[in-house]
Symmetry: C2
């Protein structure tokens, strides 16, 4: 049994930089036609020169794979119309991080007053540049995304022409917001469709499943599954695949991030097949994103076959999701480049 996915897209991807990027970039570029590349490097990507230089480094790292890195800027509230108009030639979106909320987000936003964000967000609305948001407050860890919902409501109302993408949603409240505001969209990761907080801290502690936002309750997972498996038209796949060296994950202060890139498509085939929803995977993994972002990705067919896939224990220094475990679907070898 085989399935062909046409131009799969990963709408939330961390490729990092330097040696780490060399190690992991092709785990995405071999199997996807493109991806939205996160700008939270050290320092973050905040100018056009840096966007161009980072894109070049990515293109070198993926070594000729047919893969389009959709570049982004790290949100700053002093970006004006003129700058953004020029930037739009090189980027597909702008990513907003609340200050200090996740890996390399220290330079993020600390005021969420509409007035402080107005100039930049109005320019983005006019230029049709989507705003991608890591939506968490600094409240109690399980309530952060829900609490941030108030901000989503506020900007959705204040900037009705702005396309706002709630990144890596994990909470049922975020799912509900999708149908309440025309201009709210969402990405969902692989891991948040599979795990709850119990998988992270309920038995032995699993640092390789520790991520931000942290996985929530079974009920939240059910809400995410409902919209992902049915390929809700406002929902896209975005892995948030975020590699950290094993030494940093298995340490006394473990960084947040799940490295899912190498297992995404086989694991999604498993999941969608299990729920008899394989026919919706194409929309979830590509078509919805094309419409929401108004993009035409590189033509690239990825074939998967129902054949056991033993997930490698390591990619360089990085432990992937499902390390050493067996999945029911694997890449049909010759198709991937």
């Amino acid at each position: 049994m085989k399935i062909t996915l046409h131009s799969p897209l990963d709408m939330h991807l961390h490729l990092r930089d330097g040696k780490m990027m060399q190690n992991i970039a092709r785990c995405s570029s071999k199997y996807f036609a493109g991806g939205i590349i996160m700008p939270n490097l050290v320092p973050p990507i905040t100018c056009i020169e840096d966007v161009k230089a980072y894109k070049k480094r990515i293109q070198k790292a993926i070594n000729g794979d047919k893969f389009e890195p959709y570049m982004t800027l790290f949100f700053k509230n002093d970006y004006n119309y003129k700058f953004l108009k020029e930037a739009k030639k090189y980027i597909k979106a702008i990513k907003l991080y609340p200050s200090g909320i996740t890996t390399n987000s220290e330079g993020g936003v600390s005021s969420f007053e509409t007035e402080d964000l107005k100039e930049t967000l109005e320019a983005m609305s006019e230029l049709e540049l989507p705003l991608l948001v890591h939506g968490e407050t600094n409240g109690f860890v399980l309530d952060r995304e829900k609490e941030f919902g108030l901000f989503y409501e506020k900007i959705a109302k204040s900037f009705p022409k702005l396309k706002i993408i709630m990144e890596h949603i994990t909470d049922k409240n975020s799912v509900k917001l999708l149908d309440r505001f025309d201009n709210l969209y969402a990405t969902i990761t692989l891991h948040h469709l599979l795990i709850t907080l119990d998988d992270v801290v309920g038995g032995l502690l699993k640092p390789h499943l520790f991520c931000k936002p942290i996985a929530k309750k079974e009920e939240d997972k059910e809400f995410l599954l409902e919209v992902a498996l049915n390929a809700h038209p406002k929902v896209m796949f975005g892995s948030d695949s975020a590699p950290h060296p094993q030494s940093s994950k298995e340490s006394c202060g473990c960084a947040a991030g799940v490295f899912s890139a190498p297992v995404i498509l086989p694991a999604l085939c498993d999941l969608f097949e299990k729920h008899n929803k394989l026919e919706n995977l194409q929309n979830f993994i590509s078509n919805n994103a094309r419409k929401i972002y108004n993009i035409k990705p590189i033509k690239k067919d990825i074939i998967l076959e129902k054949k056991e896939f033993l997930v490698p224990e390591k990619y360089g220094e990085v432990i992937p999701m499902f390390a050493g475990e067996r999945l029911n679907w694997s890449y049909y070898e010759s198709t991937c480049s």
Copy 2:
């Protein structure tokens, strides 16, 4: 400034066995007059011979320190009156673990039907042997202790003469139960008075603060502080100090347990002083336990002084709580043996 604590008691302590016990036992025996020793070895302590042999090994490990190891058995529902009457010469309590709920608890209880526990619990009531309980269900990790509350209510009602000690409580619901049932008591750890889930998974992941039951919300912590700082007469200190080698804590499947033994009394002085409750520490750390367990501990005065204490980074292979940090109180050297 100095404070003298008379015969401090740690009413919930893991001393482990073998090389680990050699390494960590004196972190408790130097500073405490006695402690309730947990029986969850591999295999667990379920017969009198094992109690006696384990006590001997402990006495050897503490190397002459004035410290009374109060021994316990691992609860089995086939303990009968005759066995328990004999056992009572050697033990102070029996510890019940739901099966599989924490480290080395696989042989624990899987049926909580009153009928299945009746013979053993009635014998314990008659013999005045307290039942110590790790109170968690296998539900969602943050709800486990609250859900277990129904079982506490059931046994408290069914066995009104049985002294039931809710071990290492973490949830406000457990605190409320104390005043609802005459025969429910509790131990509280140091770490649950200081941390919430945010400290474990809210920033970087902190495996050395990962424990079972997992730390809950700020509101729960406030309830615990209220009864601890005021030395509620049904509440005792029990550290649940539980050493694991660094290699097991900083790994892809990290074991639950905080190793607090070396820092307990200085950290409690800090905490009680901060809340202007130092005068209640003696009751919390010793007197309440004496009354609840009806024990007369070894006479042993521990003096602490308000002087910076730089917590060591490591005790052998084990990372302690507050490793490398500074506390405001320290042991007044010559008093501890």
